[in-house]
């Protein structure tokens, strides 16, 4: 069994893209909280393979990675920001809810907006205090409705997936509102691919 320190050292000493990917995958598999800072750092390396592995590692570690992710989010590197939002989305911790609400409609980078829209659909609502759930879901719903008007097709697509997941989670009241909204935007959507995703959501939400 290699120690976490050694695994981290391998990441720091990797001298090629492939070596970095291998080292990050090994570190991610260890599911250790000690790996969090290094995995976060990898998100800024502009190496998509390693970043995917690091995001997966952070998701596996789960909620204990959230505070450090939040602390490090204030960055000018929008590539890294998008990966962090993906990690939040995968972890589903409501601690990131406000951040996702804001990012989904205000971030200048479309990769960040799309990751946030996706994440709003997969929040772990059981972790929200019962008296606050309805309000939080209403916020997510309204933000996703707004995101369906985004200028980029991929953000609209992501917003549909968010509404689809939210529709699976939430009580009847939201389900009806979501289905109505989906039917409404189906008629206006110019991209055939986004239309298809709306259709899929409508079929599966019944």
């Amino acid at each position: 069994m290699i120690s976490i320190e050694k695994l981290i050292e391998h990441v720091n000493k990797a001298d090629s893209a492939d070596a970095l990917l291998d080292a990050v995958e090994n570190l991610a598999d260890a599911k250790s909280e000690l790996a969090i800072p290094t995995l976060i750092e990898v998100l800024g390396f502009n190496n998509p393979g390693a970043a995917v592995a690091a995001v997966e590692g952070l998701i596996k570690i789960g909620e204990s990675a959230v505070p450090q992710l939040l602390e490090n989010l204030d960055t000018y590197n929008y590539g890294a920001r998008a990966w962090m939002i993906r990690a939040f989305a995968g972890i589903g911790d409501p601690a990131a809810l406000d951040l996702l609400l804001k990012a989904a409609v205000t971030d200048f980078s479309q990769s960040v907006r799309r990751a946030a829209a996706r994440g709003l659909g997969i929040i772990n609502w059981s972790k929200v205090a019962p008296e606050k759930v309805a309000i939080a879901q209403e916020q997510a719903l309204q933000t996703l409705f707004l995101a369906t008007e985004d200028g980029e097709w991929i953000v609209r697509y992501a917003a549909i997936t968010g509404l689809h997941s939210l529709g699976n989670e939430t009580p009847e009241k939201f389900l009806t509102a979501i289905a109505n909204k989906l039917r409404e935007i189906l008629t206006q959507e110019p991209e055939i691919v986004v239309k298809a995703r709306i259709q899929l959501a409508l079929e599966q939400l019944g």
Binding site: A17, D18, L21, P48, G49, V52, R86, A89, Q110, S111, R114, A115, A117, R118, W153, I154, Y157, A158, T161, I192, V193, A196, R197, Q199, L200, E203
Partner: protein, 271 residues
């Protein structure tokens, strides 16, 4: 580099200013930016096409390598404006001495969807792989084979198949993949789509990106899983999967097939 400067310039230009900048002959930089701008914003004014056609004959803007920067930009822009009036002039550009003008013209002709250019494009492939070598001291081949082959594929020039097929054995990977892409477009045989799938697992990130765009362009449906798995930016994978899905939906516009739903599952996982 010049394109980046052009992006800054673009924020300040208006249509009238762009046309005026292209019309004047004193400031070469302004003409160059204006040509780029008109293409970038896909200006549909007939006057824009006419001025770009004049720029296509320009002699004054010369690069240190003897090339013609304004002509290159004008050819690129004409490809984006979608006006077939430009086709005969672009065909003439295929014989111009500046390699990059020939390349830009081939790419523009690919976009204009006009079959008249096919014989001239095929001509650039004559001599086959043996003749398609690097020019000594230059980063490019004798002819812009990659652009020519891609154009012939997009233009559905089945008469060019015998000229394109040997390029599957070209030593330059990008040329080889361009040939696979075109051969798939022209024959719909899976063996050519499979070559592009293999390209998704090569070591070179640029080649993987380029294979993603090729698969998107041809909409090769069996590539879905390989696209989702390849090591590249999710944004590019999503665009590639969008291309696959669009092709699949065209054929089945009323109902979602299991294949379409599978592609959407891949897309969801990459958001």
């Amino acid at each position: 580099m010049r394109d980046e400067e052009g992006i800054r310039e673009a924020e300040q230009l208006t249509l009238d200013q762009a046309l005026e900048n292209l019309r004047q002959k004193e400031d070469l930089g302004l003409r160059y930016y204006a040509a780029w701008w008109l293409g970038k914003f896909r200006v549909q004014e007939p006057e824009a096409v006419d001025l770009l056609l004049v720029a296509l004959e320009d002699e004054s803007d010369r690069a240190p390598d003897g090339g013609y920067p304004l002509r290159r930009n004008a050819a690129r822009a004409l490809g984006k404006l979608g006006n077939k009036k430009a086709v005969p002039a672009l065909i003439r550009c295929l014989e111009f001495p500046d390699f990059y003008v020939r390349e830009a013209a081939a790419q523009a002709l690919e976009n204009l969807d006009d079959h008249r250019c096919v014989p001239s494009l095929v001509k650039l492939l004559e001599g086959g792989v043996a003749k398609a070598e690097f020019v000594t001291g230059k980063p490019h081949l004798v002819e812009p084979c990659e652009a020519v082959i891609e154009a012939l594929g997009t233009l559905n020039a089945t008469e060019a198949i015998t000229f394109i097929k040997p390029f599957l054995g070209h030593s330059v990977a990008k040329v080889k993949y361009a040939a696979a892409r075109a051969m798939y477009q022209l024959t719909r045989e899976n063996q050519y789509g499979e070559i592009l799938i293999q390209a998704l697992s090569v070591d070179d990130l640029q080649l993987r990106r380029s294979a993603l765009m090729d698969l998107a362009a041809v909409g090769y449906l069996p590539a879905g899983a390989a696209i989702a798995d390849t090591l590249a930016e999710n944004s590019m994978k999503l665009i590639a999967l969008k291309g696959l899905l669009e092709k699949n939906l065209d054929a089945n516009s009323t109902k979602l097939t299991p294949e379409s739903i599978q592609i959407m599952d891949y897309m969801d996982s990459l958001l």
